[in-house]
């Protein structure tokens, strides 16, 4: 597991406490009953602060799963290299 993914898991765990790492990694807004609009906004704020980046409002609706966040962060890091 990459250092980036470990940090992302911590972000998810802070918003969705009590879940295992595997459960967090497979999370998405449709399957998780407790993933609501407040969770989305909070998750975005945590990720922005943790990774020192700014998520554009129009991107936010597409960040609806752990995978989506992981892919988003991966693309950002590639764009920055």
């Amino acid at each position: 597991m990459s250092e980036r993914e470990t940090r992302l898991i911590r972000c998810f765990a802070s918003v969705f406490p009590g879940l295992s790492v595997d459960e967090l990694r497979s999370m998405n807004s449709e399957s998780a009953g407790n993933w609501d609009s407040l969770s989305t906004v909070t998750l975005a704020a945590v990720v922005q602060e943790e990774f020192d980046l700014e998520i554009a409002p129009e991107v936010l609706p597409r960040l609806d799963s752990f995978d989506a966040f992981r892919t988003y962060l991966h693309r950002l890091s590639q764009a920055g290299e």
């Binding site: 972000c11 802070s14 406490p17 407040l38 909070t42 704020a45 945590v46 602060e49 943790e50």
Partner: protein
Amino acid sequence: MCVGRALQVDVIYKMKLIEALEIAKRPVAAAAPQMRVFLACGFTPLYLQTFMAAHLRLLLPEVRFIVKTGLFGDLVGSVERLDPSSVDSLAVVIEWADLDPRLGLRTHGGWKPMDLAGIVKSAEETATRILRALTEISSHVPTVVSLPTLPLPPLFATRPIHAGFLETRLHCTVASLAESLSQQPGLRVARPQQLGEMSPPTGRHDVKSDLTTGFPYSLHHASSLGDLFARMIHNRPPMKGLITDLDDTLWAGIVGEDGVDGISWHLDRHTQMHGLYQQFVASLAGAGVLVGVASKNDAAVVSRAFERDDLLISKDDIFPFETHWSCKSESVRRIVQVWNVGADSVVFIDDSPMEIAEVQAAFPQMECRLFPKNDYQGILDLLKHLRDLFGRSIVTEEDSLRLSSIRESGIWRDPSQFAEVSSDAFLKSAEACIVFDGGHATGDGRAFELVNKTNQFNLNGKRFSESEWRQFFTDPDTFIVTASYKDKYGPLGKIAVVMGKLQDKRVHLNSWVLSCRAFSRRIEHQCLKYLFDAMGANEITFGYQATPRNGPIQEFLTGLLTGPPAPGARLTREQFVARIPGLFHRVEGTVHV
């Protein structure tokens, strides 16, 4: 709920949101006391709620906090509709948009010059409504308030470098609101200067978040405000005593080497900061803080130094002086013993890192601070830190009496030094007078303070939050009796509090405290006599609980009950009369039960 002193948190802690979420969601013991905080704000509370809960958890880890919020966009309505019995504490965050929505960014109400006077007038009317609502609710619920922290939008016609009439009038409205609120007894207003140090104004507003989510604060500002509110809600009791060094601390120079005229604390000698320290310590003494001196010095030389008439603190403000060549920790031990306070409520100040280390090793729980001589900013920062440790909302008459009564208490510890040798004879000669005030009042700040800070003669160590205190007296059977004391050696002020319930001539004591300054005077016997005689009780039950520090009351009750006390121990009038020693006080008092 326990309101005892938690860790000293005066350091600006930049908590991240992820940390706040983790802290706020830490599990709490099932039996943990609960505190319900209502957060009233006009915007979506989002992370402010999270940060406030997290900072409260850091201050009081053993308490389960529930931070509730009201309707967004209706700050005043949320406060006006609040049921006081549903919360233990109220936090109110006022922003410009709460005074008039056009002072925020989320409405298009118009900023034409012709609109501006109306905006200011509307803000004034809302401020009046806020004042009325907060005055009412704060008489029932402890309330903390912050006034607008965000910058005003550029609505005024003047250039940003220029404060025009209407904008100035708007600031006056807020200042006037703050002034009125700060005079309400159950309400505390956040200090803008402190918030400015924690969160500089330019980094507070997150415009994107304000417009996209309705939450106007940057995460850092939300954390700072949450921290400030948590500390105001917690409102920990102030420290009790300050022990200070002299050379290169209270004054610049070594008095034993430089001579009495060689030491200084003045601008022209570049030693002004020592004068400010003197002035500050004198102000602490005036507010009832115990001040002692521990200095490796010749006592006679120090005594001559304190005769200098330009000294900014009087020797009468200090007791005791430990000026000799023994180690500092021994001096500190003696001072703490004379004051009869816990080392954890005392601060030690010295310019020598070695002395600091030596005292800290002897008293790990004591706050030991290096006096940063020659560091102007460092000394000012120290004074600010000390103000945080010793600051109090009100200064009572008892505060000004504390030092003199401790000075006189030496007489009580060793009455044999006087002509009267028997205890009874000595007590008779003291010409003591006790004034009892019995009733049902909840607004006695001194009684609240005594119950929450007394450790030794304390029936059970029970502490009260402000809301618990008010709640206790909602039962019509409850009573509170306070006792004030004076004798020929001077007044002690209000030194005892008895609280309980009276039903069918039976008194159940929930709380009973007696200041350690008032020991050895049989005031405790007189308190019980008052309950039997003035309140007509036939029997008293004691809500006793042993604590690590309430040995004195345990000893007293053991003598009176002829055995170690247990929770619910009983004492009848007949038993009391049979065991009471001679009482020689003149007793005055009222009972309104």
